[in-house]
């Protein structure tokens, strides 16, 4: 049986909706100086001090994550092209103009590159958080105890993800993850491995987003997929006696706003 109205990706939508708007003058590098859990809870865009623009992004991204028809057959408002257009229209109405040096660059709030980056990053972060929660279900862990880092989108200049995996495996003290890569060419690790924290660690990788779920870096084409028990066993990650523990997820950390953020 097929239905026309899907259930929303509740966990992903909640991850976005709960975010507080935080206008900021901080650059991306400076933003990373803020605790990762605080950044995770806020809707940031570097050096975007206009809270109305941030609210516009939040509303539009919410529509992309959970498209709801508001009229007969009308879904264009959830098309990234029209979201870009609404952002550009807003900026034009507010009289925004980039400096000559920044025009067309990522520092230009109205450039395609900037808007796409904000849209894509925040949409995917919400989806990544939602998938993390589903992957962490105890019944799922028993059947799918591991995750694999795989490429979902091609890039003209891809990052060296195998190199990053080796660095992250060392930092996480997970020799099994490193071994699996060397012997199978696959980037697979148990779900409770600290490597999933290291992969996005901005202390290791300056472009990291400091989340234990994808995207692990800005404009990354990589994602994670569950690995079945038999596959994990063949890779030597589990045996019949292995129990993979659920990852401790602080939902208040993932979705709720700390008191100091509310006060701000």
């Amino acid at each position: 049986m097929m239905f026309n109205e899907p259930l929303p990706f509740t966990e992903a939508v909640k991850a976005l909706v709960e975010k507080q708007i935080m206008p900021t003058d901080l650059t991306t590098a400076q933003l990373r100086g803020i605790d990762a859990s605080a950044r995770r809870q806020a809707m940031f865009s570097a050096q975007t001090t206009n809270e109305y623009l941030l609210q516009l992004y939040k509303d539009r991204i919410g529509g992309i994550l959970n498209p709801v028809n508001t009229g007969p057959g009308s879904t264009t408002q959830f098309n990234p092209a029209y979201v870009r257009q609404s952002v550009k229209n807003f900026l034009a109405e507010t009289g925004y103009a980039p400096s000559p040096d920044n025009e067309g660059t990522l520092q230009d709030l109205g450039s395609d590159g900037r808007i796409n980056l904000v849209l894509k990053t925040n949409t995917e972060l919400a989806q990544g958080a939602g998938h993390l929660i589903q992957q962490n279900d105890p019944a799922v862990l028993d059947a799918f105890p591991a995750l694999e880092l795989v490429r979902f989108e091609d890039r003209k200049v891809p990052r060296d993800w195998e190199g990053r995996w080796r660095v992250a495996a060392r930092a996480a003290n997970d020799p099994d993850a490193a071994r699996v890569l060397e012997f199978s060419g696959r980037m697979v690790a148990l779900k409770d491995s600290p490597i999933w924290d290291s992969l996005g660690d901005s202390g290791l990788f300056p472009d990291g987003l400091d989340n234990p779920y994808p995207p692990f870096a800005f404009n990354s084409g990589m994602w994670t997929q569950d690995v079945a028990w038999d596959d994990a066993k063949d890779l030597g990650l589990v045996d019949d006696d292995t129990t993979v523990k659920p990852r401790e997820i602080d939902f208040a950390d993932l979705f709720n706003t700390k008191e100091w953020m509310r006060a701000a």
């Binding site: 966990e11 879904t75 979902f152 084409g221």
Partner: protein
Amino acid sequence: MFTIDIKDQLTPFNRALQAGLRAQSINPPIGVAVKKLFQDHFLSLPPNRMDWPTTNFWSRCAKATHYDLIGFGVLISVSQVGALQRLKGGDITPVNARNLAIPASPETYGKAPGEFDHLAIMWRWSDGSPKAIGLVAQRATATIIERAKSGKRAYKAVAEMVGQVVMFWLIKKVHQQGDPNTIPSEVEIRSVIDTTVQGVVDRATRRAGRG
């Protein structure tokens, strides 16, 4: 966006129930397995037919695929606008606009007309009245001049050529054929479910056997 309901009358599921397993032990793994099947399927689909720079539509479908547990079953949802249209097909008509704007070049693929400055409407006469058929961008101009036969000026402009590029075609309606290959086949889905449930049963049986 669409949702598929996986019913519980499948033989493997019944075997699991007979083995004493409950729905909450079986359904989440089914959800994950079918979600992965859908993701792999989307990622295997070819990009746009025109071979223009991709908008990563199928990757977005893959990321937007998730499962929900409802009642005694599992729902797989793909919360990505456009996915159901590709699967079922149908007519696409403009909403809050007079025409659909169809990209006419790689430059405009995945973009909206409002993102471009200074687009002009291309008109054509049809049935005695002008009809808007496209949006064009003026890319170059050239002025044709010739020597003046009289007057103070040595040369005069006699014509102007304008280099225009069609950025979007304007049409009233598009009919898209549905493509059942947009999603995995029922045979593939059932096979994945069968394998997943059998795995759950086998592990439960082994653990029970070890006491």
